[in-house]
């Protein structure tokens, strides 16, 4: 493959879209960025970043196990992330330190299981890197279709939860007194978070999901206090860092996870700087 950055936008774009695998990577990245940007924004408002992190990590043993059994990795990602979200939602609430300790233990056990599945499936060493840190090669047409369907369903569900979800997120007791089924809303949102984490994992890898799920949202939160504007901004930032990251990975020899995370972190720092100057 002979590609190099010419700094001629038209020429570079033509190079970028020359190979089918890259078109698929851009399609998948676009879908995943929109979903993760939107759901990640609500996650940041709800302070559920720890739950999001857990769900992302749980996807890794799911995907590794699926590959070992000869199934699509995306089945493992979605299956494990959604199942873990339901379990997390049904766990007794309270947010005590004990609970987060228990979640931490489950996280590391999940990573260990993933490692086991990878070694059971011989000859999968590059696969380990791809599952943990992402790759732009090997996104299949079917995977794009699955991501698209999951993404559309998740966004429609997010819109349907809408106001009660925002109400529950910032003022749970008041929402409950107004008849909002806050527990149900919480569980439903965790499932959406599971879908977003599973989707993002397939682009950035399990360990770097936060570059799409948290960083754009955290950046947006620092720039605006309007919920709708914030959500749109979060999606826009996720899209920009994904497109830039995938292009950079294409024209360089470094993996996509590194680039997406670096761009996301850079924007986050800029937003913090902006706030420090303005305030």
């Amino acid at each position: 493959m002979d590609v190099h950055l010419s700094w001629n936008l038209v020429n570079d774009l033509r190079q970028l879209l020359e190979f089918h695998f890259m078109v698929n990577a851009l399609r998948a990245g676009t879908i995943v960025a929109i979903v993760a940007g939107a759901i990640g924004y609500v996650m940041v408002i709800r302070r559920q970043s720890f739950a999001g992190h857990t769900l992302a990590l749980v996807g890794f043993p799911g995907a590794a196990g699926a590959v070992w059994l000869g199934l699509d990795a995306s089945i493992g990602f979605f299956g494990f992330c959604i199942a873990a979200a339901v379990l997390l939602g049904l766990a007794p609430a309270g947010g005590s330190g004990q609970q987060s300790a228990a979640i931490g233990i489950v996280q590391s056990f999940g990573l260990a299981c993933g490692l086991l599945f990878v070694s059971l499936y011989h000859g999968f060493l590059s696969g380990l890197n791809n599952l943990l840190f992402g790759t732009i090669v090997g996104v299949t047409d079917r995977q794009v279709l699955v991501l698209l369907i999951a993404g559309v369903v998740a966004l429609v569900a997010l819109a349907a939860l809408g106001r009660p979800l925002l109400f529950t997120s910032i003022d749970e007791a008041a929402a409950r007194s107004r008849g909002v089924p806050t527990r149900l809303v919480g569980i439903a949102f965790l499932v959406l978070l599971g879908v977003a984490a599973a989707g993002a994992s397939q682009v950035t890898g399990s360990l770097l999901v936060f570059s799409l799920l948290v960083a754009p949202a955290a950046t947006a939160v620092r720039l605006t206090a309007r919920p709708v504007v914030g959500l749109v901004l979060s999606v826009a930032i996720a899209l920009v860092v994904t497109w830039l990251g995938e292009s950079a990975a294409y024209f360089s020899s470094y993996p996509i996870g590194f680039w997406v995370t670096t761009f996301a972190f850079g924007l986050f720092l800029l937003a913090n700087g902006y706030r420090a100057v303005v305030k």
Binding site: I45, G162, L166, I170, D171, A174, S177, G179, R226, P227
Partner: protein, 272 residues
Amino acid sequence: MTTPAVHLDHATVTRGGRTIWSDVSVQIPRGEFVAVLGPNGVGKSTLLQVVLGLLPVTSGRVEVLGQPVGRANKRIGYLPQRRAFDPATPVRGVDVVRLGLDGDRWGIPVPFAGRFTESGRARNARVREVIELVGASGYAERPIGQCSGGEQQRLLIAQALVREPELLLLDEPLDSLDVTNQASVSGLIQQVCRSLDVAVMLVAHDVNPILPYLDQVLYLAHGGALMGPPIEVITADTLSMLYGTAIDVLQDRTGRLVVVGQPDATAAHGHH
């Protein structure tokens, strides 16, 4: 004759096998400002939960706004006990008030409804009106986490008021405020109570800052309840009996009462 805003008839509540209070019979009249007082853990917040129908009574009867408990919740404004909003909470005061109006409706609002539809304009106008009523127009566009404690309480009171309730339940709204703000927020609640004819049940820790504004006090203690105008209920003998410890009630030159020695009151209100 109008029915009382809240009517508890020989009501008993148990929680986790423990009787919180029993055989409580009180009536909160419409349009009156009533403080719910008593020692810690006596079930003051529980009383509000019962009035909202979130916690069933084990015996007795509860009627709210002339209907069986739980039926009239749309006509109740409730301000739960809470700490302050986190400084980083990325929503504005106006968004918080708005959620009181339509936060229980599924879906997202139609974009630009406030500009193009009649009902959208009406809702925007109602939010503005109630923010003005509580005197929060100056800071309603700021992120709520960056408002002061008193400003946040005013916005939350606006949230509770936005659907024009007939009964307002406020759970320790003054707790995190300094003395000046306690007085001004109490004054605002009294003004709301008078001008909109809303009955108010306000759970408080310390009676002194709200005393000048109250119509009645409701003391919960030792499993039972005692209610009446402050001048009748707030006496040294009654309070000492309720709290099971020596409490004095002083009267200043203007006839204002000051409770001294109440175990839960803050030190700022004096010792002797």
